[in-house]
């Protein structure tokens, strides 16, 4: 039986939950960031699968936008992490408990 | 148009004032004075034009734009016997409060804006015929109170008092809101509306489910009770008024506090007769707490404001007793006291504010012999204090005596204790205050107090005391207007939907021909007297022998013919021309 929509959606759900777990469990800021990227990609997969099976391009356009946003987000995020690191010499979540640095 | 203008004018002025630049000091006060004075004129015109003859609401105006059609909310204002007097009193007290607000030094503009918002809220609350806006305007008037006491208040525990008064009032308002919404939900979904006349019409048709009444009435009673400092929930009132600036204390104690009572009379009592009958016994006992307990506490007060605060709580006890009596005299008396106490509290707080402004202290023990130094203020304070302990000549006496007459039939023992509270305890703490503040030798440090010299400074006190005396000497000005609406409310409260006015409305209390039953024990009357509509008055008169000495005779020559017997007068008139001019000499 060819790979139907559910298969793709299951994979994307799995990927999403992995990313979510990474955000919760890991304490290194960078890893959290990577799991965030993972969750985004899971969303992309779901979009593409649905666009393919519904036979219209909206899903793919959406993925295109998501990728751009993700790129911008990574840039700003990493800049923040760098600034944070320079200030606090740590990228560890437990040390960053104060709103004001 | 007068009513809409009366309510909206303060809001427009408040908005206008916000644009006035901070520099020019004078304009906020002038604008506020003008607005409230205009409000006073409108109030008087409204009161004068109100025709007591026709029942139902008059001057009904709808303010477009406000309210949500879907829920059946639309801002409709209207006036009937009950709230026409309250609106007049509200307008007068607002004007007096603005005049007296001279002692506000810093940030006067904000104070006047808040004062105008509060006035608008109060007048709106009393005038609105829509449950939602009835509640909304009250909450609107509550916010400025909080800010005014917080910012311009006085005394060291000012903050504690501010929070206490606001928390208590919001709690009370919430419970009342719960009751109102439950009431709203009692209506069948299609007819659901917040419009009071429509709701009363509906519930006049068929009664609300008894179980629902048992639940909603206590909610409304205790909710409104907290708003009006019913006995166990009264501690916020003296404290709050002690800390409040003069104008706020006047407006809140004088007018805003009556909102709860007005709510009880307008909504709770007529719509839930069974609930009322069951719970009003409790209310009568609680009001005893008000009268006796707070009277005794007032005797111990060292601070003048706390004393006036406690005395105003005690006065509320009488209004509760009036409402609990559920008969025409009681309820009319309750409304008269509400109006009279509004004016009284206003003038008392204005005077204590004036004394505080001069002497910077309200310690009764430290003040003395002020009558020699400030004769006008002293005389006004004596008059206010005497009105407070129910001296005839003032409107308070009229209200209190009507409540006593009304409640005597239903709760004789409670009324006797209430009389003790009114006559003795009231007189003790009032006269003790007068004695220690005004009489006796003048201490050194009050040698330089300035009296209320020019007419402008005396105006607020003169207006308030004049109105008190006017309604005291000519109570028919008020009672003729209140009576028709009170009658409809009492008829509904006695479960008298139009149908059951049949048999025994000629009640045995009157001396109608047949002698009264022999041994008439001192038990309270079986139930409030089921008075009928106008017709019953006629039947009352015609049945059997001539009603002895009852009806109105011409003022001057009695109908000739000595046959009437000594002192007996029979007017034989059916309807009565109740001309509003007080001492209605003419027939």
């Amino acid at each position: 039986m060819s790979a139907s929509l559910e298969h793709y959606l299951v994979v994307s759900a799995l990927l999403f939950c992995l990313g979510l777990f990474g955000v919760i469990a890991r304490r290194n800021l960078l890893i959290i960031y990577m799991s965030l990227e993972l969750m985004l990609n899971a969303a992309n997969l779901a979009f593409v699968a649905l666009s393919r099976f519904n036979n219209n391009l909206d899903g793919q356009v959406m993925v295109f936008f998501i990728i751009t946003v993700a790129a911008a987000e990574v840039a700003v995020g990493l800049a923040l992490i760098v600034a944070l690191y320079r200030k606090r010499q740590t990228a560890h979540v437990e040390d960053l408990t104060l709103m004001k640095l | 148009m007068t009513l809409a203008l009366l309510v909206l004018l303060p809001f427009l002025a408040a908005i206008g004032l916000t644009f006035v630049p901070k520099e020019n000091e004078g304009t906020p006060r002038i604008v506020a004075l003008l607005t409230t004075f205009l409000g006073l004129l409108l109030g008087v015109r409204l009161f004068w034009q109100f025709d007591a003859g026709q029942t139902g609401y008059q001057f009904v105006t709808t303010i477009p734009g406000l309210g949500a059609e879907a829920l059946g909310i639309h801002c409709r204002l209207g006036v009937d016997g009950i709230n026409v007097g309250l609106l007049l009193m509200g307008a007068i007290v607002a004007f007096a409060a603005t005049c007296v607000a001279r002692d506000i030094g810093e940030r006067a503009k904000e104070f006047y804006v808040l004062l105008l918002v509060m006035t608008g809220g109060i007048l709106g609350a009393f005038a609105s015929l829509d449950l939602f806006f009835f509640y909304f305007f009250h909450e609107l008037a509550l916010i400025p109170t909080f800010i005014m006491i917080g910012v311009w208040g006085r005394g060291e525990d000012k903050n504690y008092a501010t929070f206490k008064i606001t928390l208590y009032l919001s709690l009370g308002a919430l419970i009342a809101l719960f009751g109102l919404i439950a009431l709203y939900l009692q209506m069948p979904p299609d007819q659901r509306t917040f419009d009071i006349p429509a709701i009363t019409q509906y519930f006049a048709g068929q009664r609300m489910a008894a179980r629902a009444q048992q639940l909603i009435f206590p909610a409304l009673m205790f909710g409104f009770g907290i708003l009006v400092s019913l006995w166990p929930f009264h501690t916020w009132a003296p404290l709050g008024y002690g800390a409040a600036p003069t104008a706020t204390a006047m407006l809140h104690a004088g007018v805003l506090k009556k909102f709860g009572l007005y709510g009880l009379i307008r909504v709770a009592v007529p719509l839930m007769p069974d609930g009322a009958k069951q719970w009003l016994g409790v209310l009568a006992l609680l009001c005893l707490g008000n009268i006796l307990y707070c009277g005794l506490v007032a005797m111990r007060q060292k601070d003048l404001n706390l004393l006036i605060g406690n005395s105003s709580v005690a006065h509320m006890g009488f209004v509760f007793l009036g409402i609990a009596s559920l008969n025409l005299i009681g309820i009319t008396g309750a409304v008269v006291i509400m109006i009279a106490h509004g004016l009284l509290a206003a003038v008392s707080f204005a005077l204590s504010g004036y004394l505080y402004q001069q002497t910077r202290t309200l310690e009764i023990s430290r003040m003395g012999g002020l009558l020699q130094q400030v004769p006008f203020a002293g005389m006004a304070l004596t008059m206010a204090m005497l009105a407070g302990c129910g001296l005839p000549g003032f409107a308070n006496f009229v209200g209190e005596s009507m409540v006593f007459f009304g409640a005597w039939k239903v709760f004789p023992v409670v009324t006797a204790l209430a009389c003790w509270g009114a006559l003795i305890i009231g007189a003790v703490y009032m006269l003790r205050a007068v004695r220690s503040i005004l009489h006796g030798p003048l201490p050194e440090d009050w040698k330089d107090l300035r009296d209320l010299s020019n007419l402008w400074r005396r105006l607020p006190f003169a207006v308030l005391l004049f109105t008190l005396l006017l309604f005291g000497f000519f109570p028919r000005l008020l009672t003729d207007k209140i009576r028709p609406s009170a009658e409809t409310i009492v008829r509904m409260a006695n479960g008298g939907s139009v149908g059951t006015r049949a048999s025994n409305q000629v009640v045995q209390t009157g001396l109608v021909g047949e002698p009264r039953n022999e041994q008439r024990p001192l038990t309270p009357h079986p139930g409030p007297l089921p008075w009928g509509e106008g017709a019953s008055i006629v039947a009352f008169r015609e049945s059997g022998g001539t009603r002895i000495g009852e009806t109105r005779a011409k003022v001057f020559p009695l109908p000739e013919g000595e046959g009437q017997g000594e002192g007996e007068r029979d007017g034989g008139k059916s309807g009565r021309v109740n001309s509003p001019q007080g001492l209605s000499f003419a027939e």
Binding site: M1, S2, A3, S4, E6, H7, Y8, V10, V11, A13, L14, L15, C17, L18, G19, F21, G22, I24, A25, R27, N28, L30, I31, Y33, M34, S35, E37, L38, N41, N44, L45, V48, S51, R52, F53, N54, N55, L57, D58, Q60, V61, F64, I67, T68, A71, A72, E73, V74, A75, V76, L78, A79, I81, V82, A83, Y85, R86, A91, H92, E94 | -
Partner: protein, 169 residues
């Protein structure tokens, strides 16, 4: 043949995803970054299976190429060492994974059990060479979002420059 490739790529994605998040061997962020890149590549594979060729290419170029490089660059810059294993807060871990599993259960139940209609009976994909229609769509129907995106990127650049200035108080 289609299915085999699908299972291959799907397994590869999930495995690398898991390794990004919880790498039993080394906790070094670099390995996670590498596995993330691998996940993205296998995703691109899945995209091709779904006939989204242009997106697959974009995925590899932009994502794997640019974003991953940025990540590696930052990791190298911050010289993040293999920090010691902090005390694992067992309680946090268990509840975390439990809640994630719950969410996955919900998704799974929805996707698999309740949506027979979604995938079935679809016309065979007719979109040969899907890039052209995508380009058209981008520049006609979605032209406004496209422009806004460019502004977004500009804002991101300004933000990054500002953030990484020397004297950040």
């Amino acid at each position: 043949m289609q299915d085999a490739l699908f299972y291959l790529f799907a397994a590869l994605t999930v495995l690398c995803g898991f390794l990004v998040v919880a790498n039993p061997f080394s906790r070094n962020p670099v390995t996670s970054a590498m596995f993330l890149a691998l996940t993205i590549v296998s995703l691109a594979g899945l995209f091709t299976l779904l006939h989204a060729y242009f997106l697959a290419a974009v995925q590899i170029l932009v994502y794997a190429g640019a974003v991953m490089v940025l990540f590696l660059f930052v990791i190298m810059l911050l010289d993040v060492k293999e920090e010691g294993r902090r005390k694992i807060k067992l309680f946090g871990l268990i509840t975390g994974s439990a809640s994630v599993a719950a969410i996955f259960g919900i998704f799974f139940k929805i996707f698999v059990l309740t949506t027979p209609t979604l995938g079935a009976g679809l016309p065979p994909p007719g979109l040969e060479g899907v890039t052209k229609p995508l380009g058209e769509a981008l520049f006609t129907q979605y032209f406004l979002p496209f422009e806004i995106l460019s502004v977004l990127l500009l804002v991101a650049m300004v933000g990054v420059i500002l953030l990484s200035k020397k004297d950040l108080r």
